[in-house]
Protein backbone atom coordinates (compact mmCIF):
# COMPACT_ATOMS: atom_id res chain seq x y z
CA UNK A 1 0.00 0.00 0.00
CA UNK A 2 1.54 3.27 -1.06
CA UNK A 3 1.06 6.05 1.34
CA UNK A 4 2.17 9.52 0.37
CA UNK A 5 0.85 9.59 -3.11
CA UNK A 6 -2.44 8.05 -2.19
CA UNK A 7 -2.98 10.33 0.70
CA UNK A 8 -2.37 13.17 -1.68
CA UNK A 9 -5.05 11.96 -4.08
CA UNK A 10 -7.28 11.20 -1.19
CA UNK A 11 -7.24 14.80 -0.13
CA UNK A 12 -7.98 15.98 -3.62
CA UNK A 13 -10.89 13.59 -4.10
CA UNK A 14 -11.84 13.52 -0.47
CA UNK A 15 -15.35 14.74 -0.77
CA UNK A 16 -17.48 13.19 1.93
CA UNK A 17 -20.63 13.01 -0.15
CA UNK A 18 -18.85 11.20 -2.96
CA UNK A 19 -17.44 8.58 -0.60
CA UNK A 20 -20.79 8.10 1.04
CA UNK A 21 -22.41 7.46 -2.30
CA UNK A 22 -19.72 4.97 -3.24
CA UNK A 23 -20.06 3.05 -0.04
CA UNK A 24 -23.78 3.36 0.51
CA UNK A 25 -25.21 0.58 -1.70
CA UNK A 26 -22.94 -2.06 -0.26
CA UNK A 27 -23.34 -0.80 3.27
CA UNK A 28 -27.11 -0.74 2.96
CA UNK A 29 -27.12 -4.34 1.79
CA UNK A 30 -24.87 -5.45 4.61
CA UNK A 31 -26.98 -3.68 7.20
CA UNK A 32 -30.29 -4.99 5.88
CA UNK A 33 -29.37 -8.52 4.91
CA UNK A 34 -26.74 -9.34 7.49
CA UNK A 35 -26.62 -7.01 10.46
CA UNK A 36 -30.31 -6.49 11.13
CA UNK A 37 -31.32 -10.17 10.84
CA UNK A 38 -28.26 -11.14 12.80
CA UNK A 39 -29.07 -8.85 15.68
CA UNK A 40 -32.70 -9.88 15.65
CA UNK A 41 -31.61 -13.50 15.82
CA UNK A 42 -29.01 -12.91 18.52
CA UNK A 43 -31.53 -11.05 20.62
CA UNK A 44 -33.64 -14.18 20.73
CA UNK A 45 -30.76 -15.78 22.62
CA UNK A 46 -32.09 -13.98 25.68
CA UNK A 47 -35.66 -15.07 25.16
CA UNK A 48 -37.67 -18.19 25.35
CA UNK A 49 -39.05 -18.22 21.84
CA UNK A 50 -40.44 -20.98 19.69
CA UNK A 51 -40.62 -21.10 15.93
CA UNK A 52 -44.26 -22.11 16.07
CA UNK A 53 -45.71 -20.68 19.27
CA UNK A 54 -46.60 -16.99 19.35
CA UNK A 55 -44.96 -14.59 21.76
CA UNK A 56 -41.79 -14.84 23.80
CA UNK A 57 -40.66 -14.38 27.34
CA UNK A 58 -37.42 -12.96 28.63
CA UNK A 59 -35.15 -15.75 29.75
CA UNK A 60 -31.94 -13.97 30.69
CA UNK A 61 -28.94 -16.15 30.07
CA UNK A 62 -30.82 -19.42 30.47
CA UNK A 63 -30.41 -20.36 26.81
CA UNK A 64 -26.71 -19.63 26.83
CA UNK A 65 -26.27 -21.61 30.02
CA UNK A 66 -28.14 -24.55 28.58
CA UNK A 67 -25.96 -24.55 25.47
CA UNK A 68 -22.80 -24.33 27.55
CA UNK A 69 -23.91 -27.11 29.85
CA UNK A 70 -24.94 -29.26 26.90
CA UNK A 71 -22.67 -30.51 24.18
CA UNK A 72 -21.03 -27.17 23.48
CA UNK A 73 -17.46 -28.38 23.83
CA UNK A 74 -18.15 -31.38 21.66
CA UNK A 75 -19.67 -29.10 19.02
CA UNK A 76 -16.72 -26.78 19.17
CA UNK A 77 -14.29 -29.64 18.89
CA UNK A 78 -16.09 -31.12 15.88
CA UNK A 79 -16.54 -27.77 14.19
CA UNK A 80 -12.83 -27.10 14.53
CA UNK A 81 -11.89 -30.52 13.17
CA UNK A 82 -14.04 -30.03 10.15
CA UNK A 83 -12.95 -26.46 9.62
CA UNK A 84 -9.25 -27.13 9.93
CA UNK A 85 -9.43 -30.30 7.83
CA UNK A 86 -11.50 -28.68 5.13
CA UNK A 87 -9.15 -25.69 5.06
CA UNK A 88 -5.80 -27.48 5.09
CA UNK A 89 -6.59 -30.29 2.64
CA UNK A 90 -7.96 -28.12 -0.20
CA UNK A 91 -5.03 -25.81 0.38
CA UNK A 92 -2.58 -28.67 -0.07
CA UNK A 93 -4.35 -29.98 -3.17
CA UNK A 94 -4.81 -26.50 -4.61
CA UNK A 95 -1.19 -25.56 -3.96
CA UNK A 96 0.11 -28.78 -5.49
CA UNK A 97 -1.92 -28.27 -8.62
CA UNK A 98 -1.14 -24.57 -8.87
CA UNK A 99 2.59 -25.25 -8.64
CA UNK A 100 2.34 -28.04 -11.17
CA UNK A 101 0.30 -26.01 -13.63
CA UNK A 102 2.59 -23.05 -13.21
CA UNK A 103 5.54 -25.00 -14.55
CA UNK A 104 3.85 -24.66 -17.90
CA UNK A 105 3.48 -28.37 -18.54
CA UNK A 106 1.79 -29.29 -21.75
CA UNK A 107 -1.97 -28.99 -21.83
CA UNK A 108 -2.03 -26.82 -18.72
CA UNK A 109 -4.71 -24.58 -20.13
CA UNK A 110 -7.10 -27.46 -20.76
CA UNK A 111 -6.25 -29.01 -17.42
CA UNK A 112 -6.88 -25.75 -15.64
CA UNK A 113 -10.33 -25.57 -17.20
CA UNK A 114 -11.23 -29.17 -16.48
CA UNK A 115 -10.09 -28.89 -12.89
CA UNK A 116 -12.66 -26.14 -12.35
CA UNK A 117 -15.51 -28.61 -12.86
CA UNK A 118 -15.82 -29.78 -9.24
CA UNK A 119 -16.22 -26.16 -8.19
CA UNK A 120 -19.10 -25.63 -10.61
CA UNK A 121 -21.11 -28.69 -9.70
CA UNK A 122 -23.83 -27.33 -7.41
CA UNK A 123 -23.08 -28.01 -3.75
CA UNK A 124 -26.07 -30.24 -3.22
CA UNK A 125 -25.10 -32.41 -6.12
CA UNK A 126 -21.61 -32.65 -4.68
CA UNK A 127 -23.12 -33.94 -1.46
CA UNK A 128 -25.21 -36.51 -3.24
CA UNK A 129 -22.36 -37.57 -5.47
CA UNK A 130 -20.11 -38.28 -2.49
CA UNK A 131 -22.94 -39.84 -0.55
CA UNK A 132 -23.29 -42.16 -3.50
CA UNK A 133 -19.56 -42.87 -3.65
CA UNK A 134 -19.32 -43.57 0.09
CA UNK A 135 -22.56 -45.58 0.23
CA UNK A 136 -21.91 -48.70 2.26
CA UNK A 137 -24.18 -50.98 0.27
CA UNK A 138 -23.62 -49.89 -3.32
CA UNK A 139 -20.80 -47.39 -3.14
CA UNK A 140 -18.09 -47.40 -5.73
CA UNK A 141 -15.44 -46.76 -3.09
CA UNK A 142 -16.20 -50.04 -1.35
CA UNK A 143 -16.32 -51.74 -4.72
CA UNK A 144 -12.89 -50.49 -5.72
CA UNK A 145 -11.24 -51.10 -2.33
CA UNK A 146 -12.69 -54.57 -2.13
CA UNK A 147 -11.58 -55.56 -5.59
CA UNK A 148 -8.10 -54.31 -4.75
CA UNK A 149 -8.19 -56.49 -1.65
CA UNK A 150 -7.76 -53.54 0.72
CA UNK A 151 -10.93 -54.34 2.67
CA UNK A 152 -12.65 -57.73 3.03
CA UNK A 153 -16.18 -56.48 3.38
CA UNK A 154 -17.99 -53.24 2.53
CA UNK A 155 -17.39 -50.53 5.13
CA UNK A 156 -20.02 -48.15 6.44
CA UNK A 157 -17.84 -45.06 6.02
CA UNK A 158 -20.53 -42.61 7.03
CA UNK A 159 -21.61 -44.58 10.09
CA UNK A 160 -18.29 -44.60 11.94
CA UNK A 161 -17.21 -41.47 13.66
CA UNK A 162 -13.72 -40.94 12.30
CA UNK A 163 -14.40 -42.05 8.77
CA UNK A 164 -17.58 -39.97 8.61
CA UNK A 165 -15.66 -36.81 9.46
CA UNK A 166 -12.91 -37.69 6.99
CA UNK A 167 -15.51 -38.36 4.31
CA UNK A 168 -17.05 -34.92 4.87
CA UNK A 169 -13.66 -33.25 4.68
CA UNK A 170 -12.86 -35.08 1.45
CA UNK A 171 -16.16 -34.04 -0.12
CA UNK A 172 -15.65 -30.44 0.95
CA UNK A 173 -12.09 -30.52 -0.32
CA UNK A 174 -13.30 -31.71 -3.66
CA UNK A 175 -15.55 -28.71 -4.17
CA UNK A 176 -13.24 -26.05 -2.84
CA UNK A 177 -9.74 -26.90 -4.03
CA UNK A 178 -10.38 -25.37 -7.49
CA UNK A 179 -10.81 -21.87 -6.15
CA UNK A 180 -7.72 -22.22 -3.94
CA UNK A 181 -5.87 -23.42 -7.01
CA UNK A 182 -7.06 -20.47 -9.07
CA UNK A 183 -6.11 -17.95 -6.40
CA UNK A 184 -2.66 -19.43 -5.86
CA UNK A 185 -2.04 -19.83 -9.57
CA UNK A 186 -2.87 -16.18 -9.97
CA UNK A 187 -0.40 -15.34 -7.23
CA UNK A 188 2.29 -17.56 -8.72
CA UNK A 189 2.04 -15.85 -12.07
CA UNK A 190 3.06 -12.60 -10.48
CA UNK A 191 6.27 -13.94 -8.98
CA UNK A 192 8.93 -12.22 -11.07
CA UNK A 193 11.11 -14.89 -12.72
CA UNK A 194 14.12 -12.71 -12.00
CA UNK A 195 13.78 -13.53 -8.30
CA UNK A 196 14.06 -17.22 -9.05
CA UNK A 197 16.99 -16.63 -11.34
CA UNK A 198 18.80 -14.65 -8.70
CA UNK A 199 18.18 -17.32 -6.10
CA UNK A 200 19.38 -19.96 -8.53
CA UNK A 201 22.59 -18.08 -9.09
CA UNK A 202 23.03 -18.09 -5.33
CA UNK A 203 22.80 -21.87 -5.52
CA UNK A 204 19.33 -22.34 -4.02
CA UNK A 205 17.61 -25.61 -4.93
CA UNK A 206 13.99 -25.97 -5.99
CA UNK A 207 12.74 -26.53 -2.48
CA UNK A 208 14.71 -23.71 -0.96
CA UNK A 209 13.60 -21.37 -3.71
CA UNK A 210 10.01 -22.36 -2.98
CA UNK A 211 10.36 -21.32 0.63
CA UNK A 212 12.64 -18.34 0.16
CA UNK A 213 11.12 -16.81 -2.98
CA UNK A 214 7.67 -18.17 -3.75
CA UNK A 215 6.17 -18.37 -0.28
CA UNK A 216 7.15 -14.88 0.86
CA UNK A 217 5.81 -13.46 -2.36
CA UNK A 218 2.50 -15.28 -1.93
CA UNK A 219 2.20 -14.50 1.73
CA UNK A 220 -0.62 -12.04 1.32
CA UNK A 221 -2.70 -14.23 -0.91
CA UNK A 222 -2.06 -17.33 1.19
CA UNK A 223 -3.16 -15.68 4.38
CA UNK A 224 -6.32 -14.37 2.78
CA UNK A 225 -7.16 -17.71 1.16
CA UNK A 226 -6.68 -19.52 4.45
CA UNK A 227 -8.66 -16.96 6.40
CA UNK A 228 -11.61 -17.00 4.02
CA UNK A 229 -11.61 -20.77 3.75
CA UNK A 230 -11.53 -21.02 7.52
CA UNK A 231 -14.47 -18.68 7.91
CA UNK A 232 -16.50 -20.31 5.17
CA UNK A 233 -15.86 -23.81 6.46
CA UNK A 234 -16.72 -22.74 9.95
CA UNK A 235 -20.21 -22.03 8.75
CA UNK A 236 -20.49 -24.69 6.09
CA UNK A 237 -23.82 -26.41 6.14
CA UNK A 238 -24.93 -28.08 2.89
CA UNK A 239 -22.50 -30.98 2.62
CA UNK A 240 -22.64 -31.97 6.28
CA UNK A 241 -26.38 -31.74 6.36
CA UNK A 242 -26.96 -33.86 3.29
CA UNK A 243 -24.23 -36.43 3.83
CA UNK A 244 -24.43 -37.22 7.52
CA UNK A 245 -26.99 -34.86 9.03
CA UNK A 246 -24.46 -34.47 11.84
CA UNK A 247 -24.30 -38.21 12.55
CA UNK A 248 -23.37 -40.87 13.41
CA UNK A 249 -24.51 -40.16 16.94
CA UNK A 250 -23.88 -36.47 16.50
CA UNK A 251 -20.15 -36.86 15.92
CA UNK A 252 -20.07 -34.68 12.81
CA UNK A 253 -22.48 -32.04 14.04
CA UNK A 254 -21.02 -28.55 13.70
CA UNK A 255 -22.33 -25.21 14.90
CA UNK A 256 -24.04 -24.53 11.58
CA UNK A 257 -25.89 -27.84 11.72
CA UNK A 258 -26.76 -27.36 15.38
CA UNK A 259 -28.21 -23.90 14.74
CA UNK A 260 -30.36 -25.17 11.90
CA UNK A 261 -31.51 -28.25 13.78
CA UNK A 262 -32.31 -26.34 16.93
CA UNK A 263 -34.33 -23.75 15.05
CA UNK A 264 -36.14 -25.97 12.58
CA UNK A 265 -36.43 -29.34 14.27
CA UNK A 266 -36.30 -28.30 17.89
CA UNK A 267 -38.34 -25.19 16.95
CA UNK A 268 -36.32 -23.39 19.64
CA UNK A 269 -35.28 -20.00 18.28
CA UNK A 270 -33.92 -18.91 21.65
CA UNK A 271 -31.44 -21.72 21.90
CA UNK A 272 -30.50 -21.39 18.23
CA UNK A 273 -29.77 -17.73 18.88
CA UNK A 274 -27.65 -18.66 21.88
CA UNK A 275 -25.54 -21.05 19.82
CA UNK A 276 -25.14 -18.30 17.24
CA UNK A 277 -24.08 -15.81 19.85
CA UNK A 278 -21.43 -18.08 21.32
CA UNK A 279 -20.25 -18.91 17.83
CA UNK A 280 -19.74 -15.27 16.98
CA UNK A 281 -17.87 -14.48 20.14
CA UNK A 282 -15.62 -17.46 19.51
CA UNK A 283 -14.95 -16.65 15.90
CA UNK A 284 -14.20 -13.03 16.74
CA UNK A 285 -11.64 -14.25 19.25
CA UNK A 286 -10.12 -16.70 16.81
CA UNK A 287 -9.84 -14.14 14.05
CA UNK A 288 -8.34 -11.62 16.39
CA UNK A 289 -5.73 -14.14 17.42
CA UNK A 290 -5.11 -15.04 13.78
CA UNK A 291 -4.69 -11.43 12.80
CA UNK A 292 -2.36 -10.87 15.71
CA UNK A 293 -0.07 -13.73 14.72
CA UNK A 294 -0.49 -14.25 11.00
CA UNK A 295 -0.56 -10.70 9.76
CA UNK A 296 2.76 -10.30 8.00
CA UNK A 297 2.86 -6.56 8.47
CA UNK A 298 2.20 -6.70 12.16
CA UNK A 299 4.44 -9.69 12.64
CA UNK A 300 7.33 -7.72 11.38
Amino acid sequence: MTTTRQRHTGRRLGDGAFVVMLVLPGLALLLAIVLYPLIAALVTAFFEQSLVLPGRTFAGTANIASVLEGDFLQLLNQTLWFTVGATVLPFAVGLGLALALNTGIRGQRVLRGVLLVPWLVPGVVVSFLWLWIFNSNYGVLNGVLQSLGLIDSPQAWLSQETSAMVALIIAKTWTSFPWVMVMLLAGLQTVPPELHEAAKVDGAGTIRRFFSVTVPHLRGIISVVLLLEFIWNFQHFDIIWVMTGGGPAGTTRTFAVAVYETAFHGLDLGKAGAIGLLWMVLLMLLVTVYVRFADPERAR
Binding site: T9, G10, L13, G16, V19, L22, V23, P25, G26, L27, L29, V34, Y36, P37, L38, A41, V93, G96, L97, A100, L101, T103, I105, L111, R112, G113, V114, L116, L120, P122, V125, F128, L129, W132, Y138, V140, N142, G143, F177, V182, M183, L185, A186, G187, Q189, T190, H196, G220, V224, F234, Q235, F237, D238, A256, V259, Y260, A263, L269, L283, V287
Partner: protein, 301 residues
Protein backbone atom coordinates in the same frame (compact mmCIF):
# COMPACT_ATOMS: atom_id res chain seq x y z
CA UNK B 1 -10.36 -3.27 -22.49
CA UNK B 2 -9.94 -1.01 -25.50
CA UNK B 3 -8.89 1.90 -23.36
CA UNK B 4 -5.15 2.18 -23.34
CA UNK B 5 -3.71 3.30 -20.10
CA UNK B 6 -2.05 6.68 -20.33
CA UNK B 7 1.09 5.59 -18.59
CA UNK B 8 3.32 2.62 -18.95
CA UNK B 9 3.70 2.27 -15.23
CA UNK B 10 4.58 -1.33 -14.43
CA UNK B 11 1.93 -1.47 -11.74
CA UNK B 12 -0.83 -0.81 -14.23
CA UNK B 13 -2.95 -3.89 -14.24
CA UNK B 14 -3.22 -5.64 -17.54
CA UNK B 15 -3.93 -9.11 -18.66
CA UNK B 16 -1.46 -11.49 -17.16
CA UNK B 17 1.57 -11.96 -19.21
CA UNK B 18 2.10 -15.62 -19.79
CA UNK B 19 5.65 -15.43 -21.12
CA UNK B 20 7.31 -15.42 -17.68
CA UNK B 21 5.70 -18.71 -16.83
CA UNK B 22 6.61 -20.22 -20.14
CA UNK B 23 10.14 -18.96 -19.99
CA UNK B 24 10.53 -20.49 -16.63
CA UNK B 25 8.96 -23.70 -17.81
CA UNK B 26 11.61 -24.21 -20.40
CA UNK B 27 14.26 -23.89 -17.81
CA UNK B 28 12.56 -26.33 -15.50
CA UNK B 29 14.62 -29.48 -15.14
CA UNK B 30 13.37 -32.96 -15.90
CA UNK B 31 12.94 -33.58 -12.18
CA UNK B 32 10.66 -30.60 -11.81
CA UNK B 33 8.55 -31.66 -14.72
CA UNK B 34 8.24 -35.17 -13.32
CA UNK B 35 7.13 -33.80 -9.96
CA UNK B 36 4.63 -31.58 -11.72
CA UNK B 37 3.18 -34.52 -13.59
CA UNK B 38 2.97 -36.64 -10.47
CA UNK B 39 1.06 -33.86 -8.72
CA UNK B 40 -1.26 -33.46 -11.68
CA UNK B 41 -1.94 -37.17 -11.91
CA UNK B 42 -2.50 -37.75 -8.19
CA UNK B 43 -4.56 -34.64 -7.44
CA UNK B 44 -6.11 -34.70 -10.88
CA UNK B 45 -7.50 -38.19 -10.31
CA UNK B 46 -8.95 -37.07 -7.02
CA UNK B 47 -10.61 -34.23 -8.89
CA UNK B 48 -11.79 -36.10 -11.91
CA UNK B 49 -12.63 -39.66 -10.84
CA UNK B 50 -15.80 -38.48 -9.07
CA UNK B 51 -16.71 -36.58 -12.23
CA UNK B 52 -16.20 -39.80 -14.16
CA UNK B 53 -18.44 -41.63 -11.72
CA UNK B 54 -21.10 -38.96 -12.08
CA UNK B 55 -20.88 -39.44 -15.83
CA UNK B 56 -20.93 -43.23 -15.65
CA UNK B 57 -23.89 -43.28 -13.27
CA UNK B 58 -25.90 -40.96 -15.45
CA UNK B 59 -25.63 -43.38 -18.37
CA UNK B 60 -26.55 -46.44 -16.28
CA UNK B 61 -30.12 -47.75 -16.13
CA UNK B 62 -31.60 -46.99 -12.71
CA UNK B 63 -31.92 -50.61 -11.76
CA UNK B 64 -28.31 -51.45 -12.48
CA UNK B 65 -27.05 -48.56 -10.37
CA UNK B 66 -27.69 -50.69 -7.32
CA UNK B 67 -25.48 -53.59 -8.32
CA UNK B 68 -22.69 -54.47 -5.99
CA UNK B 69 -19.88 -54.61 -6.70
CA UNK B 70 -20.48 -51.74 -9.10
CA UNK B 71 -19.27 -52.00 -12.67
CA UNK B 72 -16.50 -49.47 -13.02
CA UNK B 73 -17.00 -49.35 -16.75
CA UNK B 74 -20.74 -49.51 -17.36
CA UNK B 75 -21.69 -51.92 -20.09
CA UNK B 76 -25.42 -51.46 -20.41
CA UNK B 77 -25.42 -47.80 -21.38
CA UNK B 78 -28.72 -46.02 -21.67
CA UNK B 79 -30.07 -42.59 -22.45
CA UNK B 80 -33.17 -43.31 -20.37
CA UNK B 81 -32.09 -40.92 -17.62
CA UNK B 82 -31.61 -38.10 -20.08
CA UNK B 83 -34.89 -38.83 -21.77
CA UNK B 84 -36.64 -38.31 -18.46
CA UNK B 85 -35.24 -34.80 -18.33
CA UNK B 86 -36.94 -33.94 -21.59
CA UNK B 87 -40.25 -35.00 -20.07
CA UNK B 88 -39.67 -32.68 -17.18
CA UNK B 89 -40.01 -29.07 -18.37
CA UNK B 90 -39.72 -27.94 -14.76
CA UNK B 91 -35.98 -28.63 -14.85
CA UNK B 92 -35.56 -26.10 -17.62
CA UNK B 93 -37.32 -23.54 -15.44
CA UNK B 94 -34.88 -24.31 -12.62
CA UNK B 95 -31.95 -23.93 -14.98
CA UNK B 96 -33.23 -20.61 -16.29
CA UNK B 97 -33.86 -19.38 -12.74
CA UNK B 98 -30.37 -20.41 -11.70
CA UNK B 99 -28.75 -18.66 -14.62
CA UNK B 100 -30.83 -15.51 -14.16
CA UNK B 101 -30.24 -15.33 -10.41
CA UNK B 102 -26.52 -16.05 -10.70
CA UNK B 103 -26.01 -13.60 -13.55
CA UNK B 104 -27.82 -10.74 -11.86
CA UNK B 105 -25.98 -11.56 -8.65
CA UNK B 106 -22.69 -11.41 -10.51
CA UNK B 107 -23.46 -8.08 -12.15
CA UNK B 108 -24.92 -6.47 -9.06
CA UNK B 109 -22.09 -7.70 -6.83
CA UNK B 110 -19.50 -6.29 -9.17
CA UNK B 111 -21.21 -2.91 -9.34
CA UNK B 112 -21.78 -2.57 -5.62
CA UNK B 113 -18.40 -4.02 -4.71
CA UNK B 114 -16.54 -1.87 -7.24
CA UNK B 115 -17.85 1.38 -5.77
CA UNK B 116 -17.12 0.27 -2.26
CA UNK B 117 -13.68 -1.06 -3.14
CA UNK B 118 -12.86 2.15 -4.97
CA UNK B 119 -13.69 4.16 -1.89
CA UNK B 120 -11.49 1.91 0.22
CA UNK B 121 -8.63 1.96 -2.24
CA UNK B 122 -8.47 5.58 -3.24
CA UNK B 123 -9.98 7.53 -0.39
CA UNK B 124 -9.07 8.04 3.19
CA UNK B 125 -12.08 8.81 5.30
CA UNK B 126 -13.14 8.51 8.87
CA UNK B 127 -14.33 5.05 9.78
CA UNK B 128 -12.67 3.54 6.73
CA UNK B 129 -10.87 0.88 8.69
CA UNK B 130 -13.85 0.03 10.84
CA UNK B 131 -15.98 -0.25 7.76
CA UNK B 132 -13.46 -2.51 6.06
CA UNK B 133 -13.38 -4.70 9.13
CA UNK B 134 -17.13 -4.81 9.21
CA UNK B 135 -17.33 -5.86 5.58
CA UNK B 136 -14.96 -8.72 6.26
CA UNK B 137 -16.45 -9.58 9.62
CA UNK B 138 -19.86 -9.98 8.02
CA UNK B 139 -18.50 -13.27 6.70
CA UNK B 140 -18.19 -14.53 10.24
CA UNK B 141 -21.85 -14.29 10.98
CA UNK B 142 -23.74 -17.57 11.08
CA UNK B 143 -25.77 -17.53 7.91
CA UNK B 144 -28.04 -20.36 8.92
CA UNK B 145 -29.16 -18.16 11.77
CA UNK B 146 -30.17 -15.32 9.45
CA UNK B 147 -32.67 -17.49 7.67
CA UNK B 148 -35.65 -17.06 9.98
CA UNK B 149 -35.36 -13.29 10.25
CA UNK B 150 -34.58 -12.81 6.58
CA UNK B 151 -37.66 -14.79 5.71
CA UNK B 152 -39.74 -12.40 7.78
CA UNK B 153 -37.95 -9.36 6.37
CA UNK B 154 -38.47 -10.31 2.73
CA UNK B 155 -42.05 -11.21 3.54
CA UNK B 156 -42.57 -7.74 4.98
CA UNK B 157 -41.46 -6.14 1.73
CA UNK B 158 -43.31 -8.63 -0.45
CA UNK B 159 -40.07 -9.97 -1.89
CA UNK B 160 -40.53 -13.61 -1.05
CA UNK B 161 -40.73 -15.93 -4.01
CA UNK B 162 -39.01 -13.38 -6.20
CA UNK B 163 -35.63 -13.20 -7.86
CA UNK B 164 -34.95 -10.11 -5.76
CA UNK B 165 -34.82 -12.02 -2.48
CA UNK B 166 -32.22 -14.40 -3.83
CA UNK B 167 -30.19 -11.81 -5.69
CA UNK B 168 -30.04 -9.43 -2.73
CA UNK B 169 -29.01 -12.20 -0.34
CA UNK B 170 -26.34 -13.70 -2.56
CA UNK B 171 -24.98 -10.29 -3.50
CA UNK B 172 -24.58 -9.44 0.16
CA UNK B 173 -22.92 -12.73 1.04
CA UNK B 174 -20.46 -12.43 -1.80
CA UNK B 175 -19.73 -8.74 -1.24
CA UNK B 176 -16.77 -9.17 1.12
CA UNK B 177 -14.85 -11.37 -1.30
CA UNK B 178 -15.60 -9.09 -4.25
CA UNK B 179 -14.69 -5.95 -2.35
CA UNK B 180 -11.45 -7.51 -1.24
CA UNK B 181 -10.52 -8.65 -4.75
CA UNK B 182 -11.38 -5.35 -6.37
CA UNK B 183 -9.69 -3.27 -3.70
CA UNK B 184 -6.52 -5.22 -4.38
CA UNK B 185 -6.96 -4.43 -8.02
CA UNK B 186 -7.63 -0.73 -7.56
CA UNK B 187 -4.68 -0.41 -5.20
CA UNK B 188 -2.42 -1.16 -8.11
CA UNK B 189 -3.83 1.62 -10.27
CA UNK B 190 -1.41 4.46 -10.40
CA UNK B 191 -2.80 7.60 -8.79
CA UNK B 192 -1.17 9.56 -11.59
CA UNK B 193 -3.86 8.42 -13.98
CA UNK B 194 -6.57 9.74 -11.72
CA UNK B 195 -4.75 12.97 -11.08
CA UNK B 196 -4.19 13.52 -14.78
CA UNK B 197 -7.88 13.09 -15.43
CA UNK B 198 -8.68 15.54 -12.69
CA UNK B 199 -6.50 18.13 -14.28
CA UNK B 200 -8.59 17.59 -17.41
CA UNK B 201 -11.62 18.44 -15.25
CA UNK B 202 -13.19 15.06 -15.57
CA UNK B 203 -15.88 14.61 -12.92
CA UNK B 204 -15.25 12.08 -10.18
CA UNK B 205 -17.93 9.74 -11.47
CA UNK B 206 -16.53 10.00 -14.98
CA UNK B 207 -13.13 9.04 -13.68
CA UNK B 208 -14.58 5.97 -12.08
CA UNK B 209 -16.69 4.95 -15.04
CA UNK B 210 -14.52 5.73 -17.99
CA UNK B 211 -11.04 5.26 -16.60
CA UNK B 212 -10.90 3.13 -13.49
CA UNK B 213 -13.48 0.51 -14.36
CA UNK B 214 -12.36 -0.14 -17.94
CA UNK B 215 -8.74 -0.75 -17.00
CA UNK B 216 -9.98 -3.01 -14.22
CA UNK B 217 -12.05 -5.17 -16.53
CA UNK B 218 -10.15 -8.40 -15.84
CA UNK B 219 -10.62 -7.91 -12.12
CA UNK B 220 -14.30 -7.12 -12.57
CA UNK B 221 -14.81 -10.27 -14.59
CA UNK B 222 -12.95 -12.37 -12.04
CA UNK B 223 -15.00 -10.96 -9.16
CA UNK B 224 -18.16 -11.48 -11.18
CA UNK B 225 -17.30 -15.12 -11.77
CA UNK B 226 -16.83 -15.71 -8.06
CA UNK B 227 -20.15 -14.04 -7.32
CA UNK B 228 -21.79 -16.15 -9.99
CA UNK B 229 -20.64 -19.34 -8.32
CA UNK B 230 -22.00 -18.21 -4.97
CA UNK B 231 -25.47 -17.84 -6.44
CA UNK B 232 -25.14 -20.98 -8.51
CA UNK B 233 -24.23 -23.20 -5.56
CA UNK B 234 -26.50 -22.05 -2.79
CA UNK B 235 -29.07 -24.49 -1.48
CA UNK B 236 -30.61 -23.45 1.78
CA UNK B 237 -31.42 -19.82 0.99
CA UNK B 238 -32.64 -20.69 -2.47
CA UNK B 239 -34.87 -23.34 -0.98
CA UNK B 240 -36.31 -21.10 1.69
CA UNK B 241 -36.64 -17.73 0.03
CA UNK B 242 -37.82 -18.75 -3.44
CA UNK B 243 -41.15 -20.33 -4.15
CA UNK B 244 -41.67 -23.09 -6.72
CA UNK B 245 -41.65 -20.67 -9.65
CA UNK B 246 -38.38 -19.02 -8.73
CA UNK B 247 -36.60 -22.11 -7.44
CA UNK B 248 -33.03 -22.52 -8.62
CA UNK B 249 -31.35 -25.76 -9.61
CA UNK B 250 -29.95 -27.01 -6.30
CA UNK B 251 -33.29 -27.13 -4.45
CA UNK B 252 -35.03 -27.94 -7.70
CA UNK B 253 -32.91 -31.04 -8.26
CA UNK B 254 -33.46 -32.19 -4.71
CA UNK B 255 -37.18 -31.61 -5.02
CA UNK B 256 -37.32 -33.62 -8.18
CA UNK B 257 -35.10 -36.56 -7.44
CA UNK B 258 -34.84 -36.99 -3.70
CA UNK B 259 -38.29 -37.89 -2.56
CA UNK B 260 -39.93 -39.73 0.25
CA UNK B 261 -39.65 -43.00 -1.61
CA UNK B 262 -36.08 -43.20 -2.78
CA UNK B 263 -33.17 -41.19 -4.07
CA UNK B 264 -32.96 -41.61 -7.82
CA UNK B 265 -29.24 -41.49 -8.33
CA UNK B 266 -29.00 -42.01 -12.05
CA UNK B 267 -31.51 -39.34 -13.14
CA UNK B 268 -30.13 -36.96 -10.52
CA UNK B 269 -26.63 -37.37 -11.91
CA UNK B 270 -27.89 -37.00 -15.46
CA UNK B 271 -29.73 -33.82 -14.59
CA UNK B 272 -26.73 -32.38 -12.77
CA UNK B 273 -24.54 -33.17 -15.72
CA UNK B 274 -26.77 -31.53 -18.29
CA UNK B 275 -27.46 -28.45 -16.24
CA UNK B 276 -23.80 -27.93 -15.35
CA UNK B 277 -22.58 -28.01 -18.92
CA UNK B 278 -23.43 -24.41 -19.89
CA UNK B 279 -21.69 -23.01 -16.84
CA UNK B 280 -18.66 -25.22 -17.22
CA UNK B 281 -18.27 -24.19 -20.84
CA UNK B 282 -18.66 -20.53 -19.96
CA UNK B 283 -16.07 -20.78 -17.19
CA UNK B 284 -13.56 -22.61 -19.32
CA UNK B 285 -13.97 -19.88 -21.91
CA UNK B 286 -13.52 -17.14 -19.31
CA UNK B 287 -10.91 -18.80 -17.12
CA UNK B 288 -8.02 -16.65 -18.25
CA UNK B 289 -9.85 -13.69 -16.71
CA UNK B 290 -10.30 -15.64 -13.54
CA UNK B 291 -6.60 -16.17 -13.04
CA UNK B 292 -5.54 -12.99 -14.76
CA UNK B 293 -7.99 -10.81 -12.87
CA UNK B 294 -6.85 -11.98 -9.50
CA UNK B 295 -3.21 -12.06 -10.46
CA UNK B 296 -3.21 -8.42 -11.38
CA UNK B 297 -4.67 -7.27 -8.11
CA UNK B 298 -4.66 -9.86 -5.48
CA UNK B 299 -1.08 -10.28 -4.57
CA UNK B 300 -1.00 -7.17 -2.52
CA UNK B 301 -3.62 -8.82 -0.35
Amino acid sequence: MTVTSPTQDPTTPARPRTPPARRRARRQGAGGRLAAWIAVVVFGSFALLPVYWLLATSFTPTQSTFQYPPKLIPTDLTLENFRRLVDNPQLLTYLVNSVVVSLITAVLSVIVAAYMAYAFAKHRFRGRKSLMSFVLASQLFPQSLLLVTLYGLFDLYGLLNSYAALVLSFTTFTLPLCVWMLKGFFDTIDDGIIEAAQIDHASRWRIVHSIVLPISAPGLVAAGLFAFVRGWNDFIFALTLAGPERQTLPPGLVNTFVGEAAAEWAPLMAASLITSIPVVVAFIALQRFLVGGIAAGAVKG
